[in-house]
C-alpha cells in the first residue's frame, strides 16, 4: 500500500450532519431512518469529522448533560455546523455558550439570577408596550406587509435593547444594525459593518455604565464581574453580543414561524383566540413543533465514554438534534400532530444540560404576548400568497422564514 488511510471508512459511509428538511413543518426525514438504526448512530460533520447522533429524547438528555461532554467549539472533534466554524471562535471571548466548567459555572450563575421566571415577569409591562407599538405600526402601514422585517426582527431587537438597557437615543441605530446583520437581503460587507457597529455600540454602553452604574442588566453584570474580581471590558462586550445573538434571531424566527404555524392550524388558533390563557401551552407546543435550534445541541466527548452500550472515543462529536428528540413518540405520542393540549413541557427546544437556554423564560413570555396580541388586534391576519412559495431558512443555524408576507 502506498497510501495509508488515516481513518478506515465504514460501509456504508455515515451520513453528514446537518441534514436538510424536506417538509418545512417537519424535521429532516433522515432522522426517522436513523431512529431505526439504534439509540446512537455514526455520522460525520460538514468537515468529515466523526460523531454520534441520537434521535431519542432520553439519549439526547444523556449526551447533553454528560459530565464529559464539552461545549468548547475549539476542541478538536466539536461538530462543525458549517465549514470553518471553529475559525470564527477567535471572536468569542465572553461567549457563555462555548464555555465549560468551571469558567461556565461562574458566569452562568451571574446571569441565571437575572433571568428567573419571577424576574422575567417584572418585564411584562415593557414587553407589552414594545409589542403593542409594533402591532400599531403594522396596522398603520401598508398591506401586504412582510412580518419578518416589519415586525418580528424589530420587535425582538427592541426587546433586547430594553433588556440590555441600550439608551433610547441609540435604539434606531441598534435596531437598524441588528436587522442588517440578520436580513438575507444584506451583502456580506453590510453584515460585517453592521456587526462592527453593534459591537461598538454595546462597547460604548458598557464603558458608560462602568463609570455610572444603573439598575439595568449590564450594570448588574459589571457589579457581579467586579465582585468576582474578573471585570474585563472586552469579556463583558462579548457577553452582551452573545445575549443579543442568542435572543434576537431566535425570537424573531419563532415569531414568524409561530404565526405561520398557528395560521396553518385554524382549529387550534380559534381555540387560542377564544381563550388566551392557553398561551403558555400554545408557545411550548410551537417551540416543540418547530425546534428552530435543531442544529445547535451538539457537544464533543472530552474522554472515552460509554452511552447506552456504545463506546464513544474521546474527541467524537455528540449530536442530539432537538427536532428529533422533540418528535420522539416515547415522550410525545403522535409526535407529528400539532396539539396545544399535549404536555410539551419537557421539549428540548432550549437544549439540555448546563447550557440550557438562560433566556427561555423571557423568550416564552415574549412569544406569549406576541401571539396573544397579534391575533387579538389583527384577528383576520392571513398569509398573503401561497404557503408553498414561502422561503424557509434551510441553510441557517436557526430555522426560520426569510419573509412572511401577511395581510388582513
Amino acid at each position: 500500500m502506498t497510501e495509508a488511510q488515516a481513518v478506515p471508512a465504514p460501509t456504508p459511509a455515515p451520513p453528514t450532519f446537518p441534514m436538510p428538511r424536506a417538509c418545512p413543518f417537519a424535521p429532516p426525514a433522515a432522522y426517522s431512518e436513523l431512529a431505526e438504526k439504534g439509540p446512537l448512530t455514526p455520522v460525520v460533520d460538514v468537515e468529515g469529522t466523526a460523531g454520534w447522533l441520537t434521535t431519542r429524547h432520553d439519549v439526547a438528555r444523556d449526551l447533553l448533560a454528560h459530565p464529559k461532554a464539552s461545549k468548547n467549539l475549539l476542541r478538536p472533534g466539536f461538530p462543525a455546523l458549517f465549514p470553518g466554524a471553529a475559525a470564527l471562535a477567535g471572536e468569542i471571548k465572553g461567549f457563555l455558550i462555548w464555555m465549560d466548567p468551571p469558567e461556565h459555572t461562574l458566569y452562568r450563575h451571574m446571569l441565571a439570577g437575572e433571568f428567573t421566571m419571577r424576574r422575567v415577569q417584572t418585564m411584562r409591562p415593557q414587553i407589552e408596550k414594545i409589542v403593542d407599538e409594533g402591532i400599531t405600526r403594522l396596522l398603520d402601514g401598508p398591506r401586504p406587509v412582510d412580518l419578518v422585517h416589519e415586525f418580528a426582527l424589530p420587535t425582538a431587537s427592541l426587546l433586547i435593547s430594553e433588556l440590555l438597557g441600550v439608551p433610547y437615543s441609540e435604539r434606531d441605530l441598534f435596531q437598524h444594525a441588528t436587522g442588517a446583520i440578520l436580513s438575507h437581503e444584506s451583502t456580506q460587507e453590510q453584515r460585517k459593518n453592521a456587526f462592527i457597529q453593534v459591537r461598538g455600540l454595546l462597547s460604548r454602553v458598557i464603558a458608560e455604565r462602568t463609570e455610572n452604574l444603573g439598575d439595568d442588566l449590564l450594570s448588574t453584570l459589571i457589579r457581579k464581574y467586579r465582585e468576582a474580581d474578573v471585570f474585563d471590558h472586552d469579556h463583558l462586550v462579548g457577553m452582551a453580543v452573545m445575549l443579543l445573538g442568542a435572543g434576537h434571531e431566535t425570537t424573531a424566527n419563532m415569531i414568524a414561524l409561530g404565526t405561520l404555524g398557528l395560521l396553518q392550524q385554524p382549529e387550534a388558533l380559534a381555540e387560542f383566540k377564544a381563550d388566551p390563557a392557553l398561551a403558555p401551552k400554545v408557545v411550548d407546543e410551537l417551540l416543540r413543533y418547530f425546534s428552530i435550534g435543531d442544529h445547535v445541541t451538539c457537544r464533543v466527548a472530552t474522554e472515552d465514554i460509554e452511552v447506552r452500550g456504545v463506546h464513544i472515543p474521546a474527541g467524537s462529536g455528540l449530536i442530539a438534534p432537538n427536532a428529533a428528540a422533540n418528535r420522539d413518540p416515547a415522550v410525545f405520542p403522535n409526535p407529528d400532530a400539532f396539539d396545544i393540549h399535549r404536555n410539551s413541557k419537557s421539549h428540548l427546544a432550549f437544549g439540555f444540560g448546563i447550557h440550557q437556554c438562560l433566556g427561555q423564560h423571557l423568550a416564552r413570555l415574549e412569544l406569549e404576548i406576541v401571539f396573544t396580541e397579534l391575533f387579538r388586534r389583527i384577528p383576520d391576519l392571513r398569509v398573503d400568497g401561497e404557503v408553498a412559495d414561502l422561503q424557509f431558512k434551510d441553510q441557517a443555524l436557526f430555522y426560520g422564514l426569510h419573509r412572511l408576507p401577511v395581510t388582513w
Binding site: 450563575h109 441565571a112 439570577g113 413541557k345 419537557s346
Partner: protein, 70 residues
C-alpha cells in the same frame, strides 16, 4: 402507590438555575436570588404535585439536580 411520602431536595452544586422545576411545580420549587438556583418550598410535596415533581426530576431538570426519595 400514590400515597407514598416523597422527599425532595435540590443539589446546589449541580443546579444551573434553568427554572424547569419551577415551571413544572411552582408550589414546590422557587428560584432564589441572586444566582437563580432552585430552593425547595415543599420538601414533602402534596400528593397533587408529586407527578409534576417526578417529571421535573426525570425529564426536565437539565442539570439533573433534583433528588427524590420515596
Amino acid at each position: 402507590m400514590g400515597e407514598t411520602t416523597m422527599r425532595v431536595t435540590v443539589d446546589h452544586d449541580l443546579c444551573v438555575g434553568a427554572g424547569q422545576c419551577v415551571r413544572a411545580a411552582p408550589e414546590v420549587f422557587e428560584q432564589r436570588d441572586p444566582d437563580g438556583k432552585s430552593t425547595v418550598l415543599q420538601p414533602v410535596p402534596d400528593a397533587q404535585y408529586q407527578a409534576a415533581v417526578r417529571e421535573a426530576a426525570a425529564r426536565m431538570c437539565p442539570a439533573r439536580a433534583i433528588n427524590i426519595e420515596g
